[in-house]
Amino acid sequence: MATSVRATGGGSAPPAAQAPGSSAGPGSHSQRPAGRSGWRSTLYRLDLKAAPYVFIAPFFLTFAAFGLFPLIYTGWLSLHRVELGGSAQWRGLGNYSALATSEFFWNALANTFTIGVISTVPQLLMALCLAHLLNYKLRGRGFFRVAVLAPYATSIAAATLVFAQLFNTDYGLINTALGWLGFDPVAWESSKWPAQIAISVIVTWRWTGYNALIYLAAMQAVPQDLYEAAALDGASRLRQFLSVTIPSIRPTILFTVVVSTIGATQLFGEPMLFGGSIGISGGSGNQFQTLSLLMYEKGWVTGALGQASAIAWVMLLLLLIIGGIQALVSRSNRGRGRGRSRNERTKAGS
């Protein structure tokens, strides 16, 4: 009987599974099907019923303890005045209304948004182009793929420490290179937009290659006949890229947009380490303080846990709003994508 199991497995499971699969089941368990004799059948049915819940339990227990409970606790804290190590006093929505009138909060919100846009949009556009290039028949394709992925292996901390030196106003290589091109040195840390651009460069550097490989995988799964039909219609390469490739990998693009947006909303390590000893305040004029940094400053420097918790909940609300917008966009896109591919098919047939 064990043999029959193996035979089924050999047929349809991936080849990798064969070797270990064939060493399975020495046949010791090939008793008759359970369900006829007393306790064994009860046990069998219990196993059948309970097993799924046992298997998913570790995830839900971990989530309950380290995700859901702290989430609610943070919500509770956000309605109180709490000092580090002190007791809590009810404050209602006071922490939230304090945020609404705090220039630091609006500054951090604006910085999170602008850094998020400057780091995400060029990153994903460049990743698309890079994926397109990597999709050509290439000599040394392995090298190029590993090379663009190397930044992904570099941690936030290591990457930021290196870039902080490269962006140094006085001796950094980037200003040196700008000097060769005839530009004046840029004050990358102390002025607002240069600092935000520098931080975005670090984010972009770390993630472009990774996203490009994700796009590349999606591009290679696009059916070839779509391209053939477009070519028959006389579509140029660029036209094919815009009207076949992009629509076909739209779900993947949306996935990367979601992931990058979530990441951008939480941005913390890059601005903090880029600012050196004054990183937590986001530079001397808070010019690159993000929401996460402000939350950390409130919670761990000022010790106002209630206010820090309110910031955390605002971040969650933001993500929910962004998620809602993205869900709407994806739904309308899906409709449009379907319409378009139907058009193309009709065109190809005519």
Binding site: V5, A147, L173, L291, S309
Partner: protein, 298 residues
Amino acid sequence: MARTLDTTPRAAAPRARRLRPSAGRQHHAGPLTYVLLGLAALVSLFPLYWNLVAASHSGERVVEAPAPLLPGPRLLDNLSFAWNQVDMGEALVNTTIVAGLVSLSTVLFSTLAGFAFAKLPFKGRGALLALVVATMTIPPQLSVIPLYRIITDLGWVDQLQSVVLPSLVAAFGVFFMRQYLIEALPAELVEAARMDGAHSLRIIWHVVFPVARPAMAVLGMLVFVQAWNDFFWPFIALTPDGNPTLQVALAGLGAGHHTVDQAVVLTGALISTLPLLLVFAVLGKHVVGGITAGAVKN
């Protein structure tokens, strides 16, 4: 770790072959493509190269304009200084322990849950799966304040378990394994094992694990890299002067805790990056295959 990664080639191979037909009629790259790709590779690799350059000079030389472009003579001095004075060795061991435990447990629990969601019928399956996916959007910022209070009460600040426990399993992993198993594991295989009277643990061991192994290897690699580089919560739960992971130690270095010698700071960065980079360089193709394999599933 090497052993886990060894299975990745087999993981990527069948998938790559399936993708080949569409890739078969690719256009050949022109010179411009090579130029642009060369530029992309240069931009990707230069900061890493320069990290090595900076780590091989004296601190004074690194902060002198123009910054050095070629390696200098002080790499070993800087390495031994960082290793002894800043204790990057301890941080390296801590990081290895944390990343190892987190990836092992995430792979194990994600495979169990992914199998249940993919192949076992049970009440509430759809809703619970939706919940798993929804939890992915909750940022860690929502939990760090209470968690910090808890680990303070327990006396767990600077203890590795405070970093490991919250990461024992990840929603991404559960979803990843579910997506893989839903296609790779034939339902008849599970049913046949049931007919043989195999109980669930036996099915996990003899049917699910062998089939899931390639995806487990990929997931293990992804989680290992993520845990190795994790920053936000470790930075709160551990301290640079106490019992840090590499990233926390680097944050301390960057803030000038031990030294303001930028060559030593960047030597620390080099120590933290080198292990993963070496793995990437040796297993590069398989890592790339793993990441793209994982992405297709998404």
